[in-house]
Symmetry: C2
Subunit: 245 residues, 2 copies
Amino acid sequence: MARDKYDLFYWPGIQGRGEFVRLALEDAGADYRDVARLSKAEGGGMEAMFALMKAPGLAPFAPPFLRHGKLVVAQTANILQYVAPRVGLVPAAERARVHAHQLQLTIADFAAEVHDVHHPIASSLYYEDQKIEAHRKARHFREERIPKYLGYFERLLAGNAGKGRVGHALGKFSYVDLSLFQVMAGLGYMFPRTMQRTRRKYAHLYALAGKVELRPRIAAYLASPRRLPFNEQGLFRHYPELDAQ
Amino acid sequence: MARDKYDLFYWPGIQGRGEFVRLALEDAGADYRDVARLSKAEGGGMEAMFALMKAPGLAPFAPPFLRHGKLVVAQTANILQYVAPRVGLVPAAERARVHAHQLQLTIADFAAEVHDVHHPIASSLYYEDQKIEAHRKARHFREERIPKYLGYFERLLAGNAGKGRVGHALGKFSYVDLSLFQVMAGLGYMFPRTMQRTRRKYAHLYALAGKVELRPRIAAYLASPRRLPFNEQGLFRHYPELDAQ
């Protein structure tokens, strides 16, 4: 039987929210194309993405979105919820899927807050035009929001960890763990000084991130040109003045 | 057969994000308790809510959450996705459920932006301590974000509206329509001057909101003490200085 084919549509130059989906498709060894990163001759490029966004009916509000057969699914957490049972990245039971999605939506809330650290006033303005507000917001984010979110996930993982065993978000491996790896990687890039001091505080999160990084397909992906570098157009941005001093 | 029983947990003094769930449960005529609004003698109150948030395992990150039997479901859009097929507020087909959820997550993104208008720097600070930033953000929100989100939903409804018929988010009535009603009601409270000028621009959204308001159970709910008034502790807040002048 031929494997299912997936078309991912996302901004071609950044990890951004699309990266949570890329990690899942890569870990599953799914047959997918990252359409906006393909050439026009291959049927890709930004035009292919924009064409779908202008389609009548249920056009997505924003990237990322995933095409599977005739269905187009948008919203990062919704895409993961849709694709994960099809590629074996979440247990089949409804209870597990509901909880995985609940955790993924909490990660999505955190991702939105990460974005707003460098864009506290408006997405339409450059960072440079809202630097003063960003500086004020970053301190609250580092001192209140990171501990609130990471503390929540750390307790969750600690509760699921056995003696000497790494804890997973759901008790067993799922796509949520891949997203938690991305959160830790992103925060490490964004706030190296802040995060460097948290190795012991979030020991279970670091252990999980380390384990995810060793998964063969993830290791191969991270070493490949398909993994875009973090940069200052994406979600996690490194502005040294926003980090702890 | 006895009807399913649901326990909703949410802050007792505000509409907030819990209101999207209340509207669905009310419209469905579901057998539910709004636990934190009950007395301690009835097994309710804030203590009952906090106890669940401190439970080991998959304790929710934040209210609202819904208990159905032994399952506790958190995250507004996740709750709606879980409960809607059980109470007849979404078509059974996967395609319809995926699209309904995608739209609901877009409404959730908008709700987060609504909150950040009055809290652009930190949730932990009072509005009064971030008024200057809120004033700057509110202009961008009114002039860029409201048109972006409402324009998207207006086009969606227009595409689904027949001749002289009110358009629904999914073609037929669903819980998403209830949430769109709440968005329009909330914005009308938050920014009366801004919204007053948009009757023609968002004609389909206003028509849908009007139709929802006439649904017998919604009309009864809105006239009851169960519908809390909007206030300045909730999601949609009326600060005249943030509205158009």
